[in-house]
C-alpha cells in the first residue's frame, strides 16, 4: 500500500539517517532503533558521513539554497548506496522528504543543485525514497506483525502519543490517513500491548521548532507546559514521540519547569524505546534511564511486566 514502494514493488534496504539530536544528545534512541530493527529482521545500515539534515525551520529561515544543497547531499549518500533513507526524527523527515519532492518535481531546481553537488563529485538522481520509521513500520511491517514479535506486552501502560508536527504537516507528498486526526501511530503503540489514549491538544506542537527554542526558550516551554499540564491531569504513564527534538524539549523542559516548582515526572520515550521494552529490553539497555526526567514508578512498572512474562 506504500506510495513510496519502488517500481517493481520490492522494498529496498534502508540506510539509517541519524541526524543530530539522536546520536549527539539521546544515543539511546539510536541504540533502540538498531535493536528493534534487528528483532524485526529489517536490513539497515548506517548512512556514513551524513550531516545535519539540515534542520528545516532554522535553515529554511536562513537560506533556501543552503537548505536544499545540504539536504540533497544527504539524499545522494543514500542513493549511492542503493538504499532508501530512513529517519527517526520528524525534523529530518520533514526536511529531507520536502527537499526530495522539490527536486523530483522541479527539473530547474534539480539542475541548479546538481551544479553545486558536482563540486564535491556528487549527483542527485532521484532514485531513493525518504521514510520515517513510524510510517515505514505501519505500512511495510504492519502493527499485526509487530504484535507477533512482542514478548513483554506493556499491559496497563497509558500512553500519550505525541505525533509532533513534521511527521504530518505539511501534508503535501506524505500519503497520510488524516492530518487533523491521524491514527497510524496510535495503532503502533497499541501493538505493544500499551494503550494510546486520546487527550485534548494531542496535535499540539512541542514548541521547540522553527528556531524558537534557541532564541526564545521560555516561549517554547510555555507551549510544552500546556501539553504537560493536560497529561499530568490525565494520569498518563508516559509520552511517546517519534522525534528526538520533541523528545529533548519535553525531557529537558520538565527539568526546567521543576526548578520553578512545577513537577511532572512524565517519562519521555521515543517509539523505538517503547517497542524495545515490549521486545524485552530493559530501560537501561534502551538508554531510557539516561533521560534527565526520571521516574522510578515507571521503571518498576516495566520491571513487573517483564517479571510476569518470565
Amino acid at each position: 500500500m506504500s506510495l513510496n514502494a519502488t517500481e517493481n514493488g520490492s522494498k529496498k534496504d534502508l540506510s539509517l539517517f541519524l541526524g543530530c539530536v539522536a546520536p549527539n544528545r539521546y544515543p539511546g534512541i539510536e541504540l533502540a532503533t538498531l535493536k528493534v530493527m534487528e528483532k524485526l529482521d529489517i536490513g539497515i545500515r548506517d548512512l556514513e558521513g551524513a550531516s545535519c539534515c539540515p534542520a528545516p525551520g532554522v535553515f529554511k529561515s536562513f537560506d533556501k539554497t543552503t537548505w536544499l544543497s545540504l539536504a540533497s547531499r544527504n539524499i545522494v549518500l543514500s542513493e549511492d548506496s542503493g538504499t532508501d533513507l530512513l529517519t527517526i526524527c520528524n525534523g529530518c523527515y520533514g526536511s529531507l522528504i520536502e527537499a526530495d519532492h522539490e527536486l523530483k518535481e522541479d527539473p530547474e531546481k534539480k539542475k541548479k543543485v546538481n551544479e553545486k553537488l558536482a563540486e564535491i563529485g556528487m549527483e542527485y538522481k532521484g532514485t531513493s525514497n525518504v521514510r520515517h520509521i513510524i510510517e515505514y513500520l505501519y505500512k511495510e511491517i504492519t502493527p499485526e506483525k509487530i504484535k507477533e514479535n512482542v514478548t513483554v506486552p506493556l499491559e496497563g501502560i497509558k500512553v500519550a502519543v505525541h505525533y509532533g508536527c513534521h511527521m504530518i504537516r505539511p501534508s503535501k507528498g506524505k500519503d497520510l490517513d488524516s492530518v487533523e486526526n491521524p491514527r497510524f501511530f496510535d495503532e503502533l503503540v497499541d501493538a505493544t500491548g500499551a494503550k494510546s489514549v486520546d487527550y485534548e491538544e494531542k496535535m499540539l506542537c512541542c514548541g521547540a521548532g522553527g528556531g524558537v527554542r534557541s532564541v526564545f526558550p521560555e516561549t517554547a516551554l510555555k507551549m510544552s507546559e500546556k501539553k504537560l499540564d493536560i497529561l499530568k491531569a490525565g494520569g498518563f504513564d508516559c509520552i511517546v514521540d517519534a522525534c528526538p527534538f520533541c523528545h529533548l524539549q519535553y525531557d529537558v523542559g520538565q527539568k526546567t519547569l521543576a526548578k520553578e516548582g512545577k513537577e511532572y515526572n512524565i517519562p519521555v520515550l521515543h517509539y523505538m524505546q517503547l517497542l524495545g521494552l515490549a521486545f524485552g529490553y530493559t530501560p537501561e539497555e534502551l538508554g531510557i534511564t539516561l533521560n534527565v526526567t526520571k521516574n522510578c514508578d515507571f521503571d518498576n512498572k516495566i520491571l513487573n511486566l517483564s517479571k510476569k512474562t518470565n
Binding site: 543530530c20 549527539n24 536562513f62 528556531g211 524558537v212 534557541s214 532564541v215
Partner: protein, 187 residues
C-alpha cells in the same frame, strides 16, 4: 541575545501605527514571488483561519500569521523584516493546512525570514546554530557527556556521521562555501 541590527521594533510597537503609503515597497512582492506559490498571498480574503488555529498566537499575542501574510501582499518590507515576532513561528504548519485559499503561510514567512537574514538581520543564537553546522557539519554536535553515554550503551563513541568521516565533513564545508552560507551568516 540579540543582534545590534534587530532593534528597530524592540521597545515600541510600530505595528499599531497607521501604514504610510511611502512604506509600500513594490519590489518586495516581486522578489517574494520568485519562489513558486508565494504569489498566493494575494488570494488571502482575511478569513482568519490561519491565525485562529495558531498555537503561538495563544502564547504571544504580538505574533499574528495572518497579519504577516497581509503585510507581505502589501509590500510592507521594512516592517516585516524588522519585526522580531516573525521569528516566533514554530513551523507547526497548522495554519498552512487550514487556509482555504492554499496560501503558503509558513513557507512565505520563512521566505520573509531569509530576506531579513540577507540584510544581516539575524539573532545571535541562530548564528551560533549556523556556526555549528559550518564548523562541524552538525547543528547539534557531539559533546563529552554524550560520548560517555554512547560508550556506556555500547555504541561507538563518535557516531558514524560527518563526525567520524573527515572527508565527508570537508565536502559539507565545501558545499556551504560554494552556496555562500559562511558569508551570509557572518554579515
Amino acid at each position: 541575545m540579540q543582534n545590534a541590527k534587530m532593534k528597530l521594533f524592540n521597545g515600541y510597537d510600530k505595528m499599531t501605527e497607521p501604514i504610510n503609503s511611502s512604506e509600500i515597497d513594490k519590489t518586495f512582492f516581486e522578489k517574494l514571488k520568485e519562489e513558486k506559490g508565494m504569489e498566493k498571498v494575494l488570494l488571502c480574503f482575511n478569513c482568519s483561519g490561519c491565525s485562529t488555529g495558531c498555537p503561538m498566537a495563544e502564547i504571544e499575542s504580538n505574533f499574528n500569521i495572518k497579519k504577516y501574510i497581509r503585510m507581505a501582499g502589501l509590500g510592507l518590507k521594512d516592517r516585516l523584516l524588522n519585526d522580531k515576532y516573525i521569528w516566533y513561528c514554530t513551523t507547526c504548519y497548522k495554519c498552512q493546512e487550514r487556509c482555504p485559499e492554499e496560501v503558503l503561510n509558513v513557507d512565505t514567512l520563512l521566505k520573509i525570514r531569509t530576506m531579513a537574514v540577507a540584510e544581516g538581520i539575524m539573532y545571535d543564537d541562530h548564528r551560533a546554530v549556523a556556526a555549528n553546522v559550518i564548523e562541524t557539519g552538525h547543528g547539534v554536535p557531539i559533546n563529552d557527556k554524550n560520548k560517555e553515554n554512547r560508550k556506556k550503551l555500547g555504541l561507538k563513541e563518535i557516531p558514524p556521521t560527518v563526525h567520524s568521516f573527515p572527508e565527508a565533513y570537508e565536502d559539507v564545508k565545501k558545499l556551504l562555501k560554494s552556496v555562500g552560507f559562511d558569508e551570509l551568516v557572518s554579515k
